[in-house]
Symmetry: C2
Subunit: 343 residues, 2 copies
């Protein structure tokens, strides 16, 4: 906390020893089973001690505030994955009396430039630059200094950015399989060399190393998009490499694995355990059996981006910090012990 | 075509005897297997004869044009279903040199009013009012006359509106089951009395009537949201009402039916045929077996809304026509003949 600066949600979070997200949940009276009564009490006390006034701060004591923010996205607003990120930005904005304008540029530089010009004419208070998936981005010129990058990061750390901790999430997924006794664990990774594919492979290797299991490259296969390549990779890993469990790049790959295994008379998790990634609604939860997976923290990332942007607008931070949002394991019904006969 | 009015995409469509969507595909050189070479030739000839100049028209020969349109949505931009509608609006807008601003109001009247005020200050050329699902809406004041309603309609026909032909889609789904020889066809409908639930029930009855099959209310059950209620309804309809086929309100309900039937040792389509509705990506196509369903024409509806709005902005139409967009059957692997033993 800097003298003369407005108190921010992060100051409250620091004093109470919790995350900004928790402060937000408590002060906005959002029912959430993860926040205990004692924690809520501690947050309220900290807010009171610091005389934290979120709405006054956000509604703009500085001049030329329009109380509008802009979300520039590549493809995001037109994909199912956008929903929770955009929803979170809008929730935070609404609580702070801000209106959110979104433009999807479809990655077209001319559209991006037009949008930035239009938003600057309109004097928006700041920008969220949102990406479809975790990647390295080049930002368009003219954004000013009130910018936060969502689900991506810039080459040089000029602006705050929030990305999922893909490596930690993968480690959690594979650790869950190891904890059930599996030692031959396959990984069906994404075919394209994305940031996420690279980090999830690192997380897979981290978990094996921590449990003294030697990495075997025959247990890793890359699958092109679609059910069939995933089904084929899963069956090959079981039949040729003898794996008893599969970590899949994402939930769609895991569903492909289900199909392939079922066609070969193999049941999940009796014969092969499966863990996905994303926690995609109507995919992971609607699988039969319901899929154990790792949640991509879209809502938390959107919330962090919006709160960080509001803080920047209010002059409360100028550090280009990068937040790696934890990806938590969601246990459902696709993991069990290896079969006693070891097949 | 009116004298002195700009030539519109609909004029070209009428002359060529095709839909506006087809004209759009052809003139924008979008590869689409549904458009034959002969049709494409006819469209180009009509456009040439009428001296149709889409970009000149859209880029604004009238004064005070800002070449921006606004999409006001209730929940839509934060749901997976929004993707194709929003994507279509953006595709049409981009082809016409327009920038699209979106605001999700979460159905909050105050946010809606703020958004309308902000957009009017910005002098947007027109509004698309987009709904999460087919419903009757009350529009906020201040929208002006350049308004199109997407996936909803107003109580009185003041503005153009586009909705899915839910009734026709349901009729197509049930006709598919009848065509395979089924006569005992169950319907797992939605629990809430939505416009879609009402229309899909009408379509179910239409198809039965056309095939001389008597409506039996015991073959219809309403299920609350979630897998379990759908699973339960499907099993009850098979065991108690003796149905050999199921029409489901949507694809998620159909997946629930799959789960329930599988737990009872019943295979789809060997023992029970199933048809869904929506053609939800990663749900219908990722089901095992892949689900025969009816496509909700989200892309076509978004495209229609954007094109109609551009026409209104250009003064090319002032009729509050309502378009019922056809919902087409998508055949996959969940429909077969009834079992020979009639169970």
């Amino acid at each position: 906390m800097r003298a003369g600066q407005p108190v921010t949600i992060r100051d409250v979070a620091q004093r109470a020893g919790v995350s900004s997200a928790t402060v937000s949940l408590v002060l906005n009276n959002v029912a959430d089973s993860r926040v205990s009564a004692a924690t809520a009490e501690r947050v309220r006390a900290a807010a009171s001690e610091l005389a934290y006034a979120p709405n006054l701060v956000a509604r703009g004591l500085r001049r030329r505030r329009t109380n509008t923010i802009a979300v520039l996205s590549d493809e995001i607003a037109t994909t199912p994955f956008a929903s929770r990120m955009i929803g979170a930005i809008q929730d935070v904005a609404m609580r702070n009396g801000l209106l959110v304008f979104m433009v999807n540029t479809a990655g077209d530089p001319e559209t991006e430039r037009s949008a930035v010009v239009a938003f600057n004419q309109q004097q928006v208070d700041g920008f969220v630059y949102a990406c479809l998936y975790h990647r390295v981005v080049d930002l368009p010129p003219g954004l000013g200094s009130n910018v936060v990058v969502l689900d991506g990061r810039t080459r040089r750390p000029r602006f705050p950015a929030v990305v999922p901790d893909d490596r930690g999430g993968a480690r959690a997924a594979v650790t869950e399989l190891l904890a059930h006794g599996h030692r031959r664990i396959g990984f069906v990774n994404d075919y394209s060399a994305t940031v996420a594919a690279d980090l999830r492979l690192k997380g897979y290797r981290d978990a094996l190393r921590e449990h003294g299991v030697r990495f075997d490259k025959r247990a890793v296969r890359n699958a092109e998009p679609g059910l069939e390549p995933s089904a084929e990779a899963a069956v090959r890993l079981h039949e040729d490499a003898g794996v008893t469990a599969l970590f899949c790049f994402n939930d769609r790959v895991a569903i492909g694995a289900y199909h392939g295994l079922r066609r070969h008379g193999l049941a999940v998790p009796r014969d092969v355990s499966v863990v996905g990634f994303d926690d995609q609604e109507f995919v992971a939860d609607y699988a039969d059996p319901p899929l154990t997976t790792v949640a991509l923290p879209h809502y938390a990332m959107g919330q962090w981006a919006a709160e960080e942007l509001i803080e920047r607008i209010n002059g409360g931070t100028d550090q280009p910090r990068v937040c790696e949002m934890p990806c938590e394991l969601v246990r459902r019904g696709s993991v069990g012990p290896p079969r006693a006969d070891g097949t």
